[in-house]
């Protein structure tokens, strides 16, 4: 962000340096902190393990409340953050919503009045939610189970990714359970200043996760950001204790890599599968260090030609990139990555983050797949 926007003071000044002043007097809170993408690259770069990103996030929550966006922009932020509510409302009328959101006049109105950038393509809503599909699947034939945290994107926008997850698990001999209750992990709420609601949803999710873990099931996910939020931001930013279950929350790619490489599970791969893929490491993936597992899992698939891209941020930072005032910055930040993708000329880009997916598809035109989708396409059903 610093490289493209001189108004942003940079992680050092926005984080620990600014914190010294904020502790003395909250009036020192700098509104430019809203430009922090929460990519956590500052924490990855810090040689002394200072939680710079958490410090900035916490400051925004603690001191930024008086800066709550008013008027229509406030409505926009609330709508972007309320993924569960908006998703539930949109999915019964999905075809209409999808069409309407693509109309030029609608985009212009949203751009002008709400401040949702007209260049953005909204992820399409699915007419049938993942959960509705899943409840019709019979999982009773299995004796071993994993629990799946599907997240908002899979449920409201892209059930296929969840269906692929179920297909792989079933092929590996595992049945799938859902959490007793699942709400959005809260990442969009946090970044839009709705910390209290995020905390409430986090507590509800942890409660369900504890029940699944007590039943001896790992809680698997297919989104790197949801995973990172539940593992690290719950305790560090929201103050929700999760040490008892943190190790049981993980990306499906990590779980699958470990089980496949130890020989505990076996998958039958198609012989005729061919795909040229480049892998993009999402920022939160890099913070967790788990790109290792997704990359090695993709390398295990016969027929996949994989190139790993240099680790550059795509710029979108979730709902941040949908806002008109940020659009220009997000595209500048992502430009290095887009160039890298275009020169590699792949059939597909693979990444574990859905918002990176939207940004890359919109900015390069290359279709993006989650590693789980590639694996599902490569195995015999």
């Amino acid at each position: 962000m610093m490289e493209v926007n001189p108004d942003y003071p940079g992680p050092k000044k926005a984080g620990p340096d600014g914190e010294r002043y904020r502790l003395k007097d909250p009036a020192f809170f700098d509104y430019a902190l809203k430009y922090c993408l929460n990519c956590k690259r500052c924490e990855v770069a810090c040689p002394s393990d200072v939680h710079i990103g958490d410090m900035i996030q916490s400051a925004r929550i603690k001191y930024g409340s008086q800066a709550k966006v008013k008027g229509l922009r406030g409505v926009r932020d609330w709508a972007l953050a309320s993924t569960d509510l908006v998703g539930s409302l949109a999915s019964p009328v999905a075809p209409v919503v999808n069409e309407v959101l693509q109309l030029k006049p609608v985009k212009s109105v949203m751009h002008g009045m709400l401040g949702v950038d007209k260049h953005r393509t909204f992820p399409e809503y699915a007419s049938k939610k993942f959960v509705s599909w899943f409840l019709k699947q019979d999982q009773s034939a299995f004796d071993k189970f994993v629990t799946y945290f599907h997240g908002c994107y899979v449920n409201y926008n892209y059930p296929k990714q969840g269906q692929d997850f179920v297909k792989i698990m079933n092929a590996a001999g595992y049945g799938v359970h859902l959490l007793e209750k699942e709400k959005c992990c809260g990442v969009a709420l946090m970044s839009n200043g709705f910390a209290a609601k995020a905390r409430k949803q986090g507590a509800l999710n942890l409660n369900s996760i504890r029940k699944a873990v007590a039943a001896g099931e790992p809680v698997l996910t297919t989104s790197s950001t949801c995973t990172f939020t539940m593992r690290d931001e719950y305790p560090d930013v929201l103050g929700l204790e999760n040490a008892d279950v943190r190790d049981n929350i993980m990306l499906a790619t990590k779980w699958l890599y470990e089980k496949l490489s130890s020989g505990e599970i076996k998958l039958k791969f198609r012989k005729d599968f061919k795909m040229k893929v480049v892998y993009h490491t999402a920022c939160h993936m890099q913070k967790m260090g788990w790109q290792l597992y997704s990359i090695e899992l993709l390398r295990m698939i016969p027929g996949v030609t994989l190139t790993v891209l240099d680790q550059n941020c795509c710029g979108i930072a979730g709902t941040f990139g949908f806002k008109k005032e940020n659009y220009g910055y997000t595209q500048k930040i992502g430009s290095k990555l887009f160039e890298d993708i275009c020169t590699s000329n792949p059939e597909y880009v693979s990444t574990d983050c859905e918002t990176c997916k939207w940004q890359i598809e919109m900015s390069t035109g290359v279709p993006v797949l989650n590693p789980i989708e590639i694996l599902a396409a490569a195995i015999e059903a």
Partner: protein, 174 residues
Amino acid sequence: MKFDVIIIGGGWAGCTEAEKLAEAGSKVCVISEGLSLASVRYETPYSRHAGLQKAGVTVLRGDRAERGIIEDGKVTGVITRNLGEGEPLTADRYVLATGKFFSRGLLSDKEHIWEPVFGADVDYDPDRTKWFSQDFEADQPFMKFGVKTDAKGHVLVDGKSIVNLTAVGDICNE
């Protein structure tokens, strides 16, 4: 996770070693602490990591080797900051390329100088007054300190050779 060679340190020396090994067909992992970021850190071989990854080398950027596990005179794994205690990275051979003081390959207090990953023996004068020269422009003796190796290039820990651990670049003594 198992590799042929794990290189600890993604600076110039580590990258050069990784390029050579990858070209020869080895499965290589580079653990590189740094990540270029304005106002926090600037990392010189930034551009070289991109090339290494395209050549199939696993580069763990922004991760750090916290501790090497040594059993019976051999390194059996490395624990990293991001992956944690439960998930050691393993290889047949390990290369230490963490550089000197600025890159934290060597750490020091007022009496000691040590190598933090493996606890390798460091070649330095116990008399602190001999670590540096008062003449600012003179060659500073502390810049010649580094880890001890045997005739075959194996790194020494507690006076014993570690048969699958070598050192390259600035971390070596002169």
